[in-house]
């Protein structure tokens, strides 16, 4: 934890109480978010029971966004390895880790920008939030996902700030917790894409 070095990224079994708590905390948070999206999904099923609306043709940009988000999970893992190696004398490796972290952030922001394009695309087709139940759910699902993704983006920005700053340290489990959350955002999006693609 000394100033001037990257913090060791250790396996959960070696984490001390407070660090273990942040690992548990992120899983508990993921559980709650899953529950919220389960509620939205059940709302969709009940709502469709009271009348179907016209099917939505998904804007192609959605698929590019999906690719960006999935790639960002890979780049985050590259960053994790780079920073872990940076503990030793291979400073260049840790710098590369930092670069992958920035790429992850950029991909995350690209996903958000892409989702905005998808919303604009729908709007040009005359499909707004209140147009019909399918468009309502499309905007709700995608906006809620982006809202949660902002949490990950903020955490990544914080991490980059810490690493780029004079301290160059962060809590042992912080990176691990952020990584779990970020990967979960990808998994959640795949689930939402499945729901949006098949039900709306």
């Amino acid at each position: 934890m000394a100033s001037g070095t990257y913090t060791q990224i250790v396996s959960p079994s070696h984490l001390a109480g407070p660090d273990r708590a942040s690992r548990s905390g992120i899983w508990v948070g993921i559980f709650a978010i899953t529950m919220s999206f389960a509620a939205f999904t059940s709302a969709l099923y009940v709502r469709q029971g009271s009348g179907e609306a016209a099917h939505i043709v998904l804007p192609p940009v959605i698929y590019a966004n999906t690719l960006a988000l999935l790639l960002s999970s890979l780049t985050l893992e590259k960053a994790r390895r780079g920073i872990a190696k940076g503990l030793g004398p291979e400073v260049d490796e840790s710098a590369a880790g930092m670069a992958w972290l920035v790429v992850t952030l950029i991909l995350g922001l690209a996903f958000v920008a892409g989702q905005c394009l998808a919303w604009r695309s729908l709007a040009t087709q005359g499909l707004y939030l209140a147009t019909n139940s399918n468009s309502s759910f499309f905007y709700v699902f995608t906006a809620m996902h982006v809202l949660h993704l902002f949490g990950g983006i903020a955490a990544l920005a914080y991490l980059i700030g810490r690493l780029a700053g004079s301290l160059r340290t962060f809590g042992q489990s912080l990176f691990g917790a952020i990584a779990i959350y970020w990967h979960f955002m990808g998994v959640l999006w795949l689930y939402l894409l499945l729901v949006i693609g098949t039900r709306l």
Partner: protein
Amino acid sequence: MEEAVVPAAHVHAPPEGFIRKHVFSLDHKVIGKQYYGLGLVAVFIGMGLSWLMRFHLVWPTTKVPGLELLSSTGAPGGVITPEYYLSLLTMHGTLMVFFVLTNAPFAGFGNYFLPIQIGAEDMAFPRFNMMSFWITFCAFIVLILAFFIPDGPPISGWTAYAPLSAVGKDAGPGLAWGQSLWAMSIAIFCVGQLFGSLNFIATTLDLRAKGMTFMRMPICTWAWFITSAIGLLAFAVLLPACLLLLLDRMAGTSFFIPAGLVISDRLQNHAGGSPLLWQHLFWFFGHPEVYIAILPAIGIVSHVLITNMRKPMLSAKVLIYSMMSIGFLSWMVWGHHMFVSGMNPTSSLLFSFPTLTITIPATIITLIWLGSLYGANMQINAASLFALGFVSMFVSGGVSGFFLAQPSIDIYLHATYFVVGHFHMVMGVAAIFGIFSGTYFWFPKMSGRMMNETLGKLHFWITFIGTYCIFMPFHYLGLVGNVRRYSSFVDDFMAPLMPVHKFISIAAFVTGAAQFIFLYNLIHSRFRGKQASENPWNATSLEWSIPSPPPWDNFGGKHPVIYHDPYQYGVKGSKGDFVMQDSPEQV
């Protein structure tokens, strides 16, 4: 003992300055007191509203001096209109359920004592903890704002049933901005509770002291832990429900509003929504919320009873497993609130079975209490009296639940005062008794001073007799067909029941007034009460092993080591008939 204690680095620095110590504090104890304080403010507002309602029910045309200042349209000339009665009803229910019954026994006491009882220095995420409280505080302010807007508070009840809650001003007073403020407030509240629950779970899982196995945690710690798991799921569903409601209200969507709905002679510009969807989402939260209110009280009362019985429970393990069963079953029973909603009768039957099943763990808990009390050398004090009172209320209120769990009976009783009597006793008053019991028990630890026992006992007896006088007749009123949610009955077929209503109202005024004895005792004892020792009740759990009030880092920079479960009473220890959890003495 000494060699087992090692210095600990605290999770945050000692607080400096008034703001950090008392306002934006990271200390779980200060945050616990803030939640409790917010609950106290909310309970007195809520009680004031119930007084106004009870007054209006009996004297509907009589002026309430000064009320027109609060709402010139809702109470012109100080006389409450029927619509304003519904506003008071909505705000009473919302304040009590969310800001009292969730805040005080769970977030308040839980925040203060859970970390100490497991031997932790603080919550796992102190900043999140502080944020949780202030988010909850914002939710409270947003809700209270509804009183001060021209539209007034909503009239849709604390359940905010759609479509009336979703369509806006056409549906009646308070359903324009008042209802929006309500939905925003509850959504904000959910965020605060989600952060809080997450903190409780992570703290319990990972910050237990050495030797503090799960089964060595006190029953109340278990209760807070189970409650936080329930809260996590329940508020995670209510939050999306409130967001969808807000979208229907503000963005023109139709999640809850059906096609062709005409309200106030106006065709609503919505199509295809499902009013039942709101009920499903709301009660998926709403029924677990009953256990969010009552489980911490069950835990607190068990803790107080054990200490005052001076012997262990018949089986603390079975009691804990029963609490878990209640928590688990609470997810399968929400439909019993919807027997008269038009839901498929087969669904009603399916929801009826798990509802009836819940009576099994609830009965086991009660039998454990009663069996443990049998032959106990019970110490009678304000805390133990309220704990006994809780058992009484829990049984009395629970028994009526058995009737309501059956669709064929519920259809008759659902819209009557029988239901009002049932949930007030089993959820409202019982949980409040748990809060009182916890307050009299832990006040010495929280403030370093004792509360006045004579005033405490006086408070108990008036409250105990008074609440029975209020809520038992409700059952009778319901059985004879007295509908609920009406603002007055004078010119109605229910007019012959007015003497009963008068009796209830007078009992409500007296019982409510007795709460000022408690308030006086609380404030007076805080400054003038007798100094409390470290362990005035000769209790065994960790909070009684540290000074009263505890230092900012709980254990003075040391890590406690746990050797026993917290039920070592009736044994021969060096301090008396008990052995503390952190004492290495053999028992």
